[in-house]
């Protein structure tokens, strides 16, 4: 007998739709969704309408939450979105918070009384304890389509997803965005980039790159199959972190020219020692343009 499809609901709270849109870029989108019955999705054909989502008690195996939450005061069809999200959460076998807003609060946590479904920035909310056995956090602004694809595939195939202490899949969030960055050679020898969008130089020293202390796999699982922020010469904004967003995203915060933040888990003393030594050497190959373009 054919295995019944898992019933999927994608429920949006306070959101820009970015994660739902991002998922549409997955090259294997419809193969992944083969295993699922879309009870409700905001952008794809679904069994039910949004009104039915809010006014009926639909069946739900897997609930994907997108957007930040306000306990009281954000309603759809005269229902508190938070209350409906809780009701489906109680019924679901798995809950995925898709995106930084649903997970930690994201940009909306700047406002009063708005936070993630599971965390308020780094603080665990009661939902963490209530649902921790079936929760999966996938932060990102937006999420990478393949991150949510990974989770959906693993669930559909009955595989266990190993999670960290914030319930993020270790497969995706155990390393930093710095891993796999094509500019690592410049980081090793402390060669700054000369500006945005160039092939050369590291973005960590001047242009605010947060990749060395941001968990994620943007440079291991390329975006649109080919790229990442740092590959094209834009700094990582740390969008997967509970503290996202921060200020002055294009400038490295320094105290007396010394980076305020250093790579994850590296003592500042160790980092500065390495930096001091590396900066003492001028590696001509790394100082030059890789390609001299003709006008």
């Amino acid at each position: 007998m054919k295995k019944p499809k898992l019933k999927l609901i994608w429920l949006q709270s306070i959101t820009c739709n970015g994660n739902a849109h991002s998922f549409l870029n997955h090259p294997e989108l419809f193969n992944i969704l083969e295993n699922y019955q879309l009870i409700y999705h905001p952008l794809l054909n679904s069994v039910n309408t949004i009104e039915e989502l809010y006014t009926k008690e639909l069946e739900c195996d897997i609930l994907i939450l997108e957007g930040a939450f306000k306990r009281v005061g954000f309603t759809k069809f005269d229902k508190e979105v938070y209350t409906i999200a809780k009701a489906y959460s109680n019924r679901a076998k798995w809950i995925i918070t898709a995106g930084t807003c649903a997970t930690f609060g994201g940009i909306f946590q700047e406002a009063d009384n708005i936070s993630g479904f599971v965390f308020n920035s780094e603080l665990k909310k009661e939902n963490f304890n209530t649902y921790k056995d079936k929760l999966i956090s996938i932060p990102g602004c937006p999420i990478h389509p393949k991150w949510i694809g990974f989770a959906l595939d693993m669930i559909a195939n009955g595989k266990k997803i190993l999670l960290d202490d914030m319930l993020r899949p270790k497969e995706l969030f155990a390393s930093t965005v710095h891993q796999g960055c094509v500019r690592n050679e410049y980081f090793e020898w402390k060669v700054d980039t000369k500006g945005f969008g160039t092939k050369e130089g590291c973005l960590f020293y001047e242009l605010g790159c947060q990749a060395p202390y941001t968990r994620g796999s943007c440079n291991k699982i390329a975006w649109n199959e080919v790229s990442s922020k740092t590959r094209v010469g834009t700094p990582c904004f740390g969008c997967t972190e509970p503290t996202f967003p921060k200020n002055s995203l294009f400038k490295t915060k320094t105290n007396m020219s010394i980076p305020k933040n250093v790579p994850l888990g590296v003592p500042k003393r160790a980092y500065l020692t390495m930096t001091g030594v590396a900066k003492g050497f001028k590696i001509e190959r790394l100082e030059k343009r890789l390609i001299d373009y003709e006008d």
């Binding site: 105290n255 007396m256 020219s257 003393r269 500065l272 001091g276 030594v277 050497f281």
Partner: protein
């Protein structure tokens, strides 16, 4: 510390004295061996050349000074108090181990060609400079010192202390160097405070 490490350290200490007293070029490996009562051949077992010895001597000095400043950095006290302790420790070394500071001022800074290969940039003084960086970074982060370029602050702090020790070495100071600790600490703090 093993016997070999102890011997190595004693060679460095004598070298610091001789280099800072007679200069790098006028001091020979046989002079150093003689002062230690060891054979020239044996000394070469520890250091392959006078240049390598000179470079290891600056690393040794930098790490010694760095370890003293680290002891201050890890204390839970204000930046103002740390400044005073750093001044105290610097002047104490200038009194107890004058060869260390003298070596830095009169050999390391004056014979750059000796240190060109292997000690370029901060490579051989990172033990010391790293601790000064840690001090400055945390003091700016806590709001006690004003944010500025590292070198403008570093030059003010270390140039000042080095200058005082140089004057002491030239026997120009009318008072013992300890006499100046309080005023110098206040001057540095006032110049750097937020």
């Amino acid at each position: 510390m093993s016997k070999k490490e102890k011997k190595r350290e004693s060679i460095i200490n004598i070298s610091l004295e001789l280099f800072s007293k007679y200069g790098f070029h006028k001091t020979t490996i046989p002079d150093i061996a003689k002062a230690l009562n060891m054979s020239v051949g044996n000394l070469y077992n520890y250091f392959k050349s006078k240049e390598i010895l000179a470079q290891d001597a600056i690393i040794y000095t930098s790490n010694y000074l760095g370890s003293k400043i680290k002891d201050i950095n890890i204390q839970d006290i204000s930046a103002k108090e740390k400044i005073k302790k750093i001044v105290e420790v610097y002047f104490k070394i200038a009194q107890d181990k004058p060869q260390m500071i003298e070596y830095f001022l009169r050999v390391y800074l004056s014979n750059r060609e000796v240190f060109k290969d292997g000690c370029s940039g901060m490579a051989c003084v990172s033990g010391f400079v790293t601790e000064i960086m840690i001090f400055f970074e945390s003091a700016v982060e806590s709001g006690e010192l004003r944010d500025q370029d590292f070198f403008s602050a570093f030059g003010l702090f270390m140039g000042y202390l080095g200058g005082m020790v140089f004057l002491k070495g030239e026997d120009i100071l009318p008072q013992e160097i300890d006499f100046y600790i309080e005023d110098i600490s206040v001057n540095i703090y006032n110049a750097l405070k937020a």
